[in-house]
Every structure is written in C-alpha cells, then in structure tokens.
C-alpha cells in the first residue's frame, strides 16, 4: 500500500455547491443547532470541526436527509432539497462505523447503490428478475463499474469477501467505494478515520485528500481531530454548542481566530491564555511583566492574551516584554522542547515551544526568561471576542503553522 492507491479514471460527473441557510434543530429542549448558515463552493473540501456533541454530525445528517431540521433550508447545486429523501439529494456518505452490509460480499456492497438506481423493482426481484430482458446487460455494466471502482481503491482482490473478513482499513475503502461508485455530487464523511489506528489514519488521510483532488467533488467532512481538519481542508468550519464560530482556511483558523474558543480548540499544545490589564495605551500588564501591544481598549480594561507556544523565544535576561518563570517540566519532542513555566500570579503553567538546539541546557527548577513578539499575541475581550489591531484587520497576517520561535 502506498500513495498510488487511488488511481484509475473514476470521475465525479455532477458537481454541486451546498448552501446551508439558518438551520435549527432541537432535540426536546436541547438546542443542537442554533441557526447554522454556511456556503460551500463547488468542489470545495470543507471540514466541520468541533468537540463531540457540538452538533456537527447532526448537521451532516440533516444535509444527507437522514434527519430533518426544525427550520432553515438547504440547497445542493442550487436546488432546494429540504423535502427530498436521502437518495434524491445526490449525496453519498461514509460513516464512522463504515455501516457496510455484513451479509453481502464487498462486490454486492459496492454494487447496491447502482442496482437500486438502474434496475427496476421487477428486475431486482429474486430469481425472476434475471429473466427480464435488460437485467443481464445492466447487471454486467454494474459489475464493470464496481470492479473499476474497487481497483482504483486497491480492493479489487477483495470483491468476493464479506466485510467481516476485512481489516479496518479495507472496510474503510469499501465504504468509500460504495460512496463514490454512483458519482455523487457531494461526499459527506462522518469521522471516517476515527476507528483506525494512528498509523493507518495518517495514511488514509493522505488518500482521502488525493481522492478529493482526483474526483473534484464537493466534500463535507466531519471530525473532532484538528490534525485531519488542518491537513485536508480548503476551509475549516469550527463548531461549538450548535454554532459556527469561524469558517476560514486552516492557516487562518490557526493564526487568526475570531474567537477565544476557536483559539483554544485549535493547536496542540493548547494556546496559552493570560489575563492582562491595559495600563495605558500600548502597554499591557501581564503575569508580572509589561508588554508593548497596541490594544484598542481603555486603560484599566481587562483583556485576555492568547499566545501560541511557538510564539515564545528564549531571552537572556528579564526586561520590557519579557516573561519570567520557573521551569516546572520539560517535554522533549525531538526537534522541539515543550517547556512548562510557572509564572507569578498565574495558576496554570505556561507552555513554551522552543527549538531544542537553541535551548540545550534548560533544567527543571531553573528561572527562565521568554520573550514574545507583540504581533504574535492575540487579544481577546472578556466575552471571548477577538480584538484586532488596526494593522490586522482585513485578514492580512497569515503565519505558517509550523514556524517555531
């Protein structure tokens, strides 16, 4: 197995944009979706990212027609699909549990959507259906397509097996094959990789990306795994408590979050959140230090400073804009060090990600000075809203994810 798994000429014929307009959904008194609106472009790979229970799977099910919204409307390819049954919506779905039919062979699993569409009720009738004139010809065509799809997914040799005899990764491919065999306009994927082990997950992630590039269809992908969201997506929609917090390309979601909750959800280790007070224009007191940052806030206002671990750099001595703390713990990650620092007046340790080669002799218990570039500090108001500085507005600053200080 390798990167050349998805080959062949299976193409998506119909393409479609998706428009989600103020969808609401309640289960009893619990509000699962609170007016979600989202526009997905034709051929886009959009990821719905959020912790479990945020409503992302519900939204996907509503999109598929498996669940019905309380209010709001859906358009797929410019066509209102609200009242349509799942099979009429032109969407295909890959489930977390794969949801293969265990009593059918791989070939039958993949062929079923085609059989349901191309053969009439009478032609599908057991035994007698085979006697009808066109049945054999259509069945042969279906066979050809199933074989072609299976080969393009590297499961051509498994067609006669039943799902119970396959490994997790193979089942996943069968589920993908069943979705793509009928050339849907929109692919819906509900955490398709979360049942795989870590190594296979990374491999399948790359294959799904390749599949998207090859098929060119619209993909809506649900996950709670930010690595999947960041690596796969054209845009990521971060969801929390039934609301979309931000929809943006992965690098913007990371470097330029709109909301404190987005900043905290994305990034590992988690972004450092420090409470600060504006001393005067351009100066903020935080954790016993004073940092020079232009903030659009009055003197005395309380703000939260969000600082990514890699935004810190090692400083030789204390001073303006330098935070000082005791090293509590060090995690060696190979090229990087995660240094946990106890700062005066802050109850949880600050985590700084430093390049290992530049910080060779840090030991627990020692005093450490770390500086931070003002332009790498994200400011949040008390209600969690992002406070942008003048220079930042307009989404100009795009910072590479992997850059270390």
């Amino acid at each position: 197995m390798g990167s050349a798994i998805f080959h062949g000429d299976v193409k998506v014929t119909a393409m479609a944009s998706v428009l989600i307009d103020s969808i609401r959904k309640n289960y009893g008194t619990a509000s699962v979706l609170r007016g979600v609106s989202l526009s997905i472009a034709d051929g886009e790979f959009l990821t719905l990212l959020g912790p479990s229970g945020c409503g992302k799977s519900t939204l996907l099910r509503i999109l598929a027609g498996l669940d019905v919204q309380d209010s709001g409307s859906l358009l797929i390819g410019g066509r209102a699909v609200d009242g349509l049954r799942p099979k009429r919506r032109g969407v295909a779905m890959v489930f977390q549990s794969y949801a293969l039919y265990p009593h059918m062979t791989v070939a039958s699993n993949v062929a079923l959507p085609l059989r349901m569409r191309r053969l009439s009720v009478f032609q599908r009738f057991p035994l007698l259906g085979r006697l009808l004139p066109a049945t054999a010809r259509i069945a042969a065509e279906i066979d050809v397509e199933v074989t072609r799809t299976a080969k393009s997914l590297g499961i051509g040799h498994l067609l006669a097996r039943k799902p119970g005899q396959l490994s997790g990764g193979q089942r996943q491919r069968v589920a993908v094959g069943r979705a793509m065999v009928r050339h849907p306009a929109v692919f819906l994927m509900d955490e398709p990789l979360s049942n795989l082990d870590a190594k296979l997950r990374v491999q399948m992630r790359a294959e799904i990306k390749e599949l998207h590039q090859r098929l060119g269809g619209t993909f809506v992908y649900v996950t709670h795994d930010q690595a999947e969201a960041m690596t796969l997506s054209d845009r990521v929609a971060v969801m929390l408590d039934g609301e979309l917090l931000q929809v943006a390309p992965p690098q913007d979601i990371y470097a330029d979050p709109d909301d404190r909750r987005v900043a905290e959800f994305i990034g590992s280790p988690k972004i450092n959140m420090l409470e600060g007070v504006v001393r005067e224009r351009g100066l903020i007191d935080v954790a016993g230090a004073t940092i020079t940052i232009e903030a659009d806030a009055r003197a005395g206002a309380h703000l939260t400073l969000g600082i990514r671990p890699e935004a810190f750099h090692l400083a030789d001595h204390g001073g303006q804009g330098i935070l000082t703390g005791f090293v509590r713990m060090i995690e060696h990650m190979g090229s990087d060090l995660f240094v946990h620092l106890d700062l005066a007046g802050i109850d949880h340790p600050l985590i700084a990600r430093l390049l290992a080669e530049r910080a060779p002799h840090i030991a627990p218990g020692q005093t450490l000075h770390v500086g931070v570039r003002p332009d790498r500090v994200l400011l949040f108001a008390r209600d969690g809203r992002r406070l942008r500085r003048q220079a930042e507005s307009g989404r100009a600053s795009v910072t590479p994810i992997r850059e270390s200080a």
Binding site: K87, Y101, H103, M116
Partner: protein, 282 residues
C-alpha cells in the same frame, strides 16, 4: 476445555453436584420421550408389565409402526401439519419483520404505546381468545378449512418482540447507509434487516413450527374434517376410534410426529442459540 476453563474451574464436589443437578433435570425431560420411543417398539402384553425395561423383550416395532401408518391417515395428518406450519410461519415473518422494524428503527408518535400493546399481546394466553376467534372464524365462513387453522396466528407478538430486540442491535448507521443507497423502507426490511437478523429468524421459526405442529387446542375447535387435521388432533382421533387401549401403535404414531421436529431442531441448533442470545455479543 483445557486452558480456558481453568480460570473458573469448580472444586470437584461442586462440579459433581452441578452435573448431578443438570443430569437429573435433563433426565426428567428426556425420560418421557425415551419411554415413548421404547413403548412404540413393544408388543401389547409387554407395555403393561410391572417391570420396566427400555429395550423390548420381543421386538414389535414393525407391527406397531405399520399399524400407525396404515390404520389412520397419519401421512395425511403430517402433510396437514406441514402445510399449516409453513403457511403460519411464512405469514408470521411477512407481518412481524416490518412491524418489528417500525418499532425498532422508526420514530413516530405512539410507538412506545404500540410496543406496550405488543407486550400485552405477549402476556395473553391464546386460549383466552379462542371463543372470539371461533366466532370470527364462523362469521368469515372459514371454519373447517386450512384458513381457520392459520388465521389466529398471522400476527405473532412474540415474533415482533424477538425481531425488534434483534433489529435494535443493528446500528442505525446501517439503516442510514441503506437509505442513502436508495433502498425503500420495505427494501431495508427484506434486504438488510432480515438477512442480518437471520439467527433470530431461525430461532423464531423453530419456536413457531414446534408450537403449531404440536398445537392441539385450536385445531380441536377449528376443524372437524379428518382430512384437515394436524398430527396431534389426528393422533387423538386415532386413539379414540381405532386403537382403544392399544398403546403400541399410538406411541409409534407419536414418535413419528415428533421426529421431524427433532431433526429440524438438531439441524438448526447452532443458529437457535445464537438467535436467542443475539445482541449479547456483537
């Protein structure tokens, strides 16, 4: 047998006690059958002898079985039993599977109430309904036909209950996938749910066939024509009219009646157990 049981192996006295209880219970259930088979091989004189032996002193099996098969239309009775059981089972599955699917996987108002009614149906002994059913059969004009033997059993609360429990263990995603693949709800029942619940279907089939093959009460009420009688009713008629106290042929007939069930059960034993414990292990 070896390593796997060693973890919770009982001490020898406990093991002996347990086996003694199991053997005694097993014997209690088996002895009447063995006795029946044994009597079917004995001549009349030996049947009422005070001393008891399993094996006949004088082998009289051929005579008894010949008599059982020729003096009354036993093959006809068994044919009737087969027709009635197959009809009942077919219609029951046809009715129960969609009902159970609706109760297990669809969301609609009053579903829980309906399921409650199924459970009530499960509690009612069939005899309670015999008089209303008899009147209904009379009104429909189907008494003394095969239809009379079949119609009270068309809906089986037990079947609905068993199927529902099994269908509930099938993940919703499978149903969702089937809907996206273009299957109608009816197609989901027959192409996905029933094949996946095959162990439950087999277990139910055995229950259904055994109880209706052996049913005496309702056929006694519903049919009078000898050519429509299922095996137990036929055996009863046989005893009254033909055999008198001639127990040998009677036991031979009984043995012949039980035999198909025995064979069917042994053949399907594996699925039967799986069907009743299904859902415990996914």
């Amino acid at each position: 047998m070896s390593a796997s049981t060693s973890t919770n192996r009982l001490s020898p006295p406990a093991a002996i006690l347990r086996h003694a209880v199991l053997l005694a219970t097993g014997a209690l259930i088996l002895v009447p059958f063995v006795w029946m088979a044994s009597l079917s091989l004995k001549p009349p004189g030996e049947i009422f002898r005070a001393s008891f032996s399993f094996w006949p002193a004088q082998f009289y099996g051929v005579e008894n079985y010949t008599k059982a098969l020729t003096e009354v239309p036993l093959p006809r009775y068994m044919g009737n039993g087969l027709v009635v059981c197959v009809l009942i089972l077919g219609v029951q599955i046809l009715v129960c599977a969609p009902c159970a699917y609706a109760l297990a996987k669809l969301h609609f108002l009053g579903r829980d109430l309906l399921f409650g009614l199924v459970l009530v149906g499960l509690l009612l002994p069939h005899q309670v309904l015999s008089l209303p059913l008899f009147i209904l059969g009379y009104q429909l004009g189907i008494l003394n036909t095969y239809a009379a033997l079949v119609f009270p059993y068309v809906v089986s609360p037990f079947g609905i209950f068993l199927f529902r429990q099994f269908f509930k263990t099938i993940p919703d995603d499978v149903v969702h996938a089937a809907r996206l693949d273009g299957l109608s709800e009816i197609a989901i029942v027959w192409k996905i749910m029933v094949p996946m619940a095959l162990p439950a279907v087999i277990a139910f089939s055995i229950f259904s066939v055994v109880s209706h093959w052996n049913d005496l009460f309702w056929p006694l009420i519903a049919v009078r024509d000898q050519s429509l009688m299922p095996p137990p009713l036929g055996i009863m008629a046989f005893k009254n009219e033909e055999a008198g106290n001639d127990y040998g042929p009677l036991m031979a007939a009984s043995t012949l009646v039980v035999l198909p069930l025995l064979i069917a059960f042994l053949a399907a034993q594996k699925w039967f157990v799986e069907g009743l414990t299904g859902g415990a292990v996914k």
